[in-house]
């Protein structure tokens, strides 16, 4: 009875595109050279590495020397926050981050607090948008860095990055954005958007896990987390993970080429899905901004139901999604992102995230709505909290 899996969790990770896998293959055991070696195998690797760097730099209107390859977006975010903080602490020790950052930014911030930095949170409104007046008010003489997530991974809300960048530039504060859910999905121009630092990852755009980058604008003082052989302009020592970076480069290239068409396709599917869910299932509410959002992420909360049980019931029917419920997290706390939006804990517990991608088809969404409807009815019959008629 179990049919093929319907994967609607593309914001968590994506499958590697076969076209990406193909170009990666030779770099494991044929072109295996170390890009730091002088001989031809090494130089061949070096050239390929620089080729990937150039491709990615172009995509965000950066220069090649401004792209530092890392192993994950978590590493990129850590490098941005800690690297900037320690390199610029003579100027000040004040850092501003939004309250809906990814854990890797929040936790790096928490650690910096223990190291004597003042890390302050920026408020977001009920849609998850950073309050620009709050930002202007909170930037002070000692502020060295502002970090705001480009597209939130749970609710899909897209910040007004250009405006935030402008404010930071005017005040002479570095601006970092975690663009993991934006890179490869929406056009990014670091110059036009006044972005000083930007993190992005390969596995969210149909590339392999284990590759990511940090864009760091030329001339900005930053110190490395990893010391060693001096790879990546001395900012990230480690033997370069070329197979993954080659895959990342190819994945980025495909995303760039297909972006417009794919965005339109996903947008249509998303609009259809949201309309169907809201009209067919009672007591469902859309989280996040109605317009300022990316098409590939939607988040709802469902009255009278707990999210983990929804996710598991859907999984038993072959549908993979995620939730902000406490029961599904390691910490047993509900999603801090949804709470920051002003949702009550029980609303966060009843939340469900669907994220779409290249494999998503309309018939999958039709099946998902139908299945979800039945599961919601089942769980509400078990729940002591009934919908008000």
């Amino acid at each position: 009875m179990r049919r093929k899996k319907i994967y609607l969790d593309f914001a968590a990770t994506t499958p590697v595109d076969p076209r990406v896998l193909r170009v990666m293959a030779p770099y494991f055991s044929q072109k295996y050279g170390n890009s730091a070696s002088l001989h031809s195998l090494g130089q061949e690797a070096r050239m390929k590495l620089e080729d990937c760097r150039e491709k990615i730099a172009k995509m965000i209107s950066a220069e090649t020397s401004e792209i530092i390859f890392t192993s994950s977006a978590t590493e990129s975010n850590n490098l941005a926050l800690k690297g900037i903080a320690f390199a610029n602490k003579d100027k000040g020790r004040h850092i501003l981050i939004s309250s809906i950052e990814h854990e890797s930014v929040l936790q790096a911030g928490e650690w910096l607090k223990k190291e004597g930095f003042e890390v302050e949170e920026l408020k977001v409104d009920s849609y998850g948008l950073v309050d620009l007046d709050d930002l202007k008010r909170k930037i002070k003489k000692e502020t060295i860095l502002v970090s705001v997530i480009f597209v939130n991974n749970e609710i899909g809300t897209k910040q007004d990055i250009e405006k935030i960048g402008k404010i930071c530039r005017k005040k002479g504060v570095f601006f970092h954005t975690d663009a993991v859910q934006a890179f490869g999905k929406i056009p990014i121009d670091v110059k036009k958007m006044n972005i000083d630092l930007l993190s992005a990852s390969s596995h969210k755009i149909y590339g392999p896990k284990g590759a990511a980058f940090l864009y760091c604008k030329k001339g900005i003082k930053i110190i490395p987390l990893l010391h060693g052989g001096g790879q990546e302009f001395g900012l990230r020592s480690s033997t370069v993970n070329l197979p993954s970076i080659v895959g990342f480069g190819k994945a980025a290239e495909i995303c760039q080429r297909e972006m417009k068409k794919e965005t339109e396709r996903i947008e249509k599917l998303r609009n259809f899905f949201v309309k169907e869910i809201l009209s067919q299932i009672k007591g469902v509410h859309l989280n996040g901004h109605p317009e300022k959002r990316v098409p590939h992420i939607v988040n709802f909360w469902l009255e009278g139901i707990e999210g983990e049980s929804l996710v598991l019931r859907l999984d038993l029917e072959g549908i993979c999604v995620s939730t902000g419920s406490a029961c599904s997290s390691f910490s047993l706390e509900p999603s801090y992102v949804l709470l920051a939006l002003g949702l009550k804990p029980w609303q966060a517990h009843g939340s469900l995230r669907f994220s779409f991608g290249r494999l998503t088809k309309k018939e999958d969404l039709i099946f998902t709505v139908k299945t979800l409807k039945k599961i919601v009815e089942d769980l509400r019959r078990i729940s002591p909290f009934k919908l008000e008629k």
Partner: protein, 157 residues
């Protein structure tokens, strides 16, 4: 599906004895919306041939994760037709054992069911204006105190 075993999933998908009960002799409520788990346990108390009080019927309503729903379902199986004085000291280990185990981070979910049962028996004694055993009184107080702590924690946020 790796997190839960087959038996847990079976109870989760097809829970036994769920729904609201008409005119119950006792209701036990446990859990909290702040945590995301809430359980109502309804009891109908009758007597066996020996004139001892037994749980004649039991139903539950639960909002919660798979572990909460599965433990709710299994406790109704375990206490149905049992003598009231037999289920007094019902521990959560029994439920976990009956289910063939729960993931470590989900063990606490099984407390929801035992607390609802204790609250239901407390409610039964109270409704009948009978003397409530000290142990049950203490448990009742502890459960209420826990609720208050949770609510305070939430309002502080």
């Amino acid at each position: 599906m790796m997190l839960y075993n087959k038996k847990v999933l079976e109870h989760f998908r097809h829970p036994h004895n769920f729904g609201k009960m008409k005119n119950p002799d006792a209701i036990g409520k446990a859990g909290n919306l702040v945590c995301g788990d809430v359980m109502y346990l309804y009891l109908k108390i009758g007597k066996n041939k020996e004139n001892e009080e037994i749980i004649k019927d039991v139903k539950f309503e639960t909002l919660g994760c798979a572990a909460a729903i599965a433990t709710s379902s299994v406790i109704t199986d375990l206490i149905k037709n049992k003598k009231l004085n037999e289920v007094f000291d019902f521990g959560s280990q029994k439920i976990v054992k009956e289910l063939g185990g729960l993931p470590p981070q989900k063990i606490h979910c099984s407390l929801l069911a035992t607390e609802a049962l204790k609250e239901a028996i407390y409610d039964y004694f109270k409704r009948r204006k009978r003397k409530i055993p000290e142990k049950l009184k203490k448990e009742h107080k502890r459960i209420l105190r826990q609720q208050r702590i949770l609510e305070r924690r939430y309002h502080k946020k």
